[in-house]
Amino acid sequence: MKRKHVLAAVLAIGSAVLIGCATYTAPTREETLQVVNSSFRERGIAKLDRLKQSDMQVACSEASLTGQELPKDVAARLEKQALATVKYPADGAYLGDFKQGERIAQTGVGLQWSDNDKTVAGGNCYACHELASQELAFGNIGPSLKGYGRLRGNSKEVVTYTWGKLWNSHAYNACSQMPRYGDANILTTAQLKDLMALLLDPNSPVNK
């Protein structure tokens, strides 16, 4: 009798182990999101609503995780949605002051919990792009923008495309890595005009 009990116990443990191994399934997206949501807290201006993902963020995260490109129709839909967010300057004036633009391109603060709602955010363009040739400390996550206006001119098409790219980069590339400077309220319209001048004004250091 005792032996039978032992045998039964061994069998039970053995099958539990087997079931344990065989039934491991990777956590679902929802399960992971639950863990993530319980693991962060708001601090200063960085509130918990930042964890709530947009359609674009969900689709592009999944594409990045799986290493698959977005299906063409999904990419087209996201780009169309992004393009619809772009607000072009009401006064039709696109170019501000390139000297201010250079300052904005150099500045990396804004929207961190170490900032506050009075912090004037920068664009931090040099973190990822080469721009003016005298600035050597530039990153390479984005393409070089040296000579941007000199190489492209400033036709209406170039000007409106550049504005749209700064406002919401996903309008032209569904899973662009560039922040949505206008759409996400990172920079003001006036600041965006200054960056436009940095890129397109013939006297800007970017075009010298």
Binding site: P27, R41, S61, L65, R180
Partner: protein
Amino acid sequence: MKGINRALLAGAALALSCTASLAQKDTADAIARYRQLLQDGNPAELVVARGEALWKEKRGPKKASLEQCDLGLGAGVVKGAYAQLPRHFADTDKVMDYESRVVHCMVTLQGLDHATATKNPFSGTGQRQTDIEALVAYVVEQSRGVPVKISQAHPQEKASFDRGKQLFYMRAGPYDFSCASCHGVTGQRIRLQDLPNIANVKEDAERAFTTWPAYRVSQGTLRSMQWRLNDCFRQARWPEPVFGSPATVDLITFLGVKANGAKMDSPSIKR
């Protein structure tokens, strides 16, 4: 320090006289030289000594030391313990990294209150190291040269890795950044800072895991792995990860498993 600044300036001046790409290489070389010079004296040694004293001191309501803390290799075993964390612990039925585990020991062995123990885990620039940072320095030093060996045997350890991977690619916040925005492609830089391709290049993951915690010269303080994640999320414009929270442990598991086999070389010294 002055000599180093002069070397950097000389590098930068030389850089300006050449073409941009050559110049940039010179600047990068000057920074590499600066990093080399730093290796001679690592102030982390002082933090290690303070951490050891703290580990052995009888503290808290229970007037106990941390010497009976079980870091996964049995109560009281510190040697090599850091190199096998995070891991699943039967007593809490959780996967824990070193930092959440040492807090667990402060609570269970010393009787400290969890909220108090984790209130200020990171020192400010130029401030005295926190207790947790000192305890990090002492314990990680006892794993120097020990190969990283992070288990994936327990289902919860596997789940931790898989969640960490999903979180690594999760884009969120006003800047739409994920960890992979900066750490998923080879050869990328922010300004002149090279970014490890943690997701895809084993050597990059190994270097990241085995050289943190580190003494940060620019901040005059020792920084832990939890701090490293915390400051990444700050710059990625996310909310703040709770110290020792499951998501932070999951990311450390994801990184650590990729570094398995590499030898710990921490506390290191960084710019």
